[in-house]
């Protein structure tokens, strides 16, 4: 096996990796440090600095204290809204994407390549272009200013990603497996449930991570299609930072950013290894 000692080349590798790691970590470290400094401290010094004492009050204020016009409930209600939007949309789009991906790659039907192509082209359609058309659609089906409407938008738009990921994963599954099962009399759903799904854990995790992150962090639709108390957490963050009628509150803002990013950060922390694994199998053709 390759020798593992402290050869110059390995030292070099560790050095380079550490430098990169430091560079990647730097912004997170800055935000965390700032979340523990008071607004005044930051205003007097620079954005990068060590807290003088740990201002945990920033977190308290960010969680339940800061005001968005009349409501002074902090970021807590918005976190709930984001969860109510993100979790259903992620689950549904992942499920539907898996089924469709399986259908397009293994079950096959007429026109499958065409529709697959169109759906994945949707990845490239800019979001600004879709704002007004979605307004018209939501209006016609009566879902403006509802969380359901937002879930619908994210689900349909998410299909472009989920179908892409799942299909690219499933093409690696040997067709003989499916053929044999069909000969044995198994139908579409049975094969999906008994054969495909058990094999899908890695790609499902990738898809869930990706979807959750994108929907949780989304701002444009979240603000336009909800109202007042339904808004997602990204809206609250913007409210905190866009207030130009105010001296910057960087301390509280940093704490709010950390709180809002916790779900996605944790997901990447625990799901990271599956992320690579999921992309390995079938290595995105």
């Amino acid at each position: 096996m390759r020798e593992r000692g402290f050869t110059p080349s390995r030292i070099l590798i560790y050095l380079v990796v550490s430098l990169f790691a430091a560079a990647y970590l730097a912004p997170l470290v800055v935000v965390v440090l700032n979340s523990l400094r008071t607004n005044e401290e930051i205003a007097q010094g620079s954005m990068i600095g060590w807290p003088q004492h740990l201002a945990w009050s920033n977190y308290a204020k960010a969680w339940s204290g800061f005001c968005v016009a009349e409501t002074c409930a902090g970021i807590r209600p918005y976190m709930l809204n984001s969860a109510l939007i993100t979790i259903p949309a992620t689950v549904i789009s992942t499920l539907l994407g898996a089924v469709a991906g399986y259908a397009v790659s293994l079950w096959r039907f007429r026109g499958d390549n065409w529709i697959y192509g169109i759906v994945t082209l949707g990845l490239f359609l800019p979001q600004q272009m879709r704002l007004l058309p979605w307004t018209i659609v939501l209006r016609d089906i009566g879902l403006i200013n509802t969380l359901t409407g937002l879930v619908l938008i994210h689900t349909i738009q998410g299909l472009s990603f989920t179908v892409l990921f799942c299909r690219n994963y499933y093409v690696a599954i040997p067709h003989e497996l499916i053929r044999a099962a069909r000969i044995d009399g198994a139908g579409f759903f049975r094969i999906f449930w008994c054969i495909i799904l058990p094999l899908s854990a890695p790609i499902l995790i990738v898809t869930v991570i990706w979807q959750f992150t994108h929907i949780w962090n989304e701002f444009l639709y979240g603000v336009t299609f909800t109202t007042g108390q339904q808004q997602p957490v990204t809206a609250a963050l913007i409210a905190l930072s866009a207030a130009i009628a105010d001296i910057p509150q960087h301390g509280v803002q940093s704490a709010a950013v950390i709180i809002a990013a916790l779900p996605t950060l944790l997901i990447y922390l625990f799901g990271g290894r599956y992320f690579v694994r999921g992309l390995t199998a079938g290595a995105v053709k």
């Binding site: 590798i13 990169f20 800019p126 272009m129 007004l132 179908v163 290595a283």
Partner: protein
């Protein structure tokens, strides 16, 4: 005659009914997705030919919206910036991602931790990334000030407020945000290289560098293409990040097409022109995607004819 035809027809229909759940489950989502994409694109193309301002209206103005957009400084600067930003960002994130993947592939200790460190930026929203980097890169309150406070007072890092260099700040923030994804893809590719090929190369006496260069990297070509395409998509539609980081500034030096579209459509209440700009964006995307699709098509032909 009719009897035979009837008996043939009946099983076909009941077969259809039996397969209805499966048909619905496959087709409804796919059709909804395809339908919304096609109809929204057509809608945008249509609007680009109307005199729409605050809200969509009917009417026909020919190519006036297009000429207006194409002749505006905003668009010209945005287009140039897209070329610069797009190529720099894709190249840098490719190189960074590949380098990190190779480094992580070396079976070093703490690989899990390191992988998390390089991946976590993907978890952060673009708005937050833009905001935090705007703090860091601001010469008055960020890195430059820190270095000054530490004593090195002639240090300059004012790219953020420098007209010529500001676009590179966007490159930095964008590479930070998404090179983790490139790394993950490359790592996946490296890990799935056939062990036998590597062993064969080692038996032939190739050192680690040569093994990588001659044997492993060439197998990564398809993944490289995928990474390029996905990163290009990110570059072309980069909106929240730029808005939070520079908002198109200083002045209008870091305008990008996605910002121009949003600005025209919603800030300036010129829907028709905004739609024209959006269609132009789509054309740019097509210019990237068509060669890719053609390449894929040729590839597939090669496989089926091999």
């Amino acid at each position: 005659m009719t009897g035979a035809a009837a008996t043939v027809a009946r099983p076909a229909i009941s077969g259809l009914v039996r397969r209805l759940p499966e048909i619905l489950m496959i087709w409804v989502p796919l059709l909804l997705s395809a339908a919304h994409l096609i109809s929204f694109s057509i809608w945008t193309i249509w609007i680009s030919f109307t005199p729409s301002t605050l809200v969509p209206v009917t009417g026909w103005v020919g190519l006036r919206n297009y000429t207006s957009v194409l002749s505006s400084r905003n668009w010209q600067i945005a287009f140039d910036n897209l070329l610069l930003f797009g190529s720099a960002f894709v190249l840098l994130s490719l190189i960074t991602g590949l380098m990190l993947a190779i480094l992580l592939d070396q079976r070093i200790r703490g690989e899990n931790v390191l992988r998390s460190i390089f991946l976590y930026p993907l978890a952060v929203s673009f708005v937050v990334t833009g905001t935090v980097w705007s703090w860091l890169l601001n010469p008055g309150i960020g890195i430059e000030k820190l270095v000054h406070d530490l004593g090195w007072s002639s240090f300059h890092f004012d790219w953020l407020v420098n007209r010529d260099m500001a676009i590179w700040t966007i490159v930095i923030a964008a590479v930070w945000q998404s090179s983790g994804f490139a790394m993950a893809l490359f790592l996946a590719g490296l890990r799935s290289v056939d062990g036998d090929i590597i062993k064969a190369a080692q038996i032939d006496g190739a050192g680690p560098v040569r093994t990588y260069w001659r044997v492993i990297l060439p197998t990564l070509w398809p993944i490289t293409v995928t990474v390029v395409v996905i990163q290009l998509q990110f570059a072309i539609s980069a909106f929240d990040l730029v808005r939070a980081l520079t908002n198109g500034g200083p002045g209008i030096a870091t305008q990008l097409p996605a910002l121009v579209v949003y600005d025209l459509m919603f800030q300036r209440g010129q829907l028709g022109r905004g739609a024209a700009a959006a269609v132009l964006m789509l054309l740019i995307l097509l210019a990237v995607l068509l060669p890719y699709a053609a390449w894929r098509y040729v590839q597939r032909q090669r496989v089926t004819h091999a």
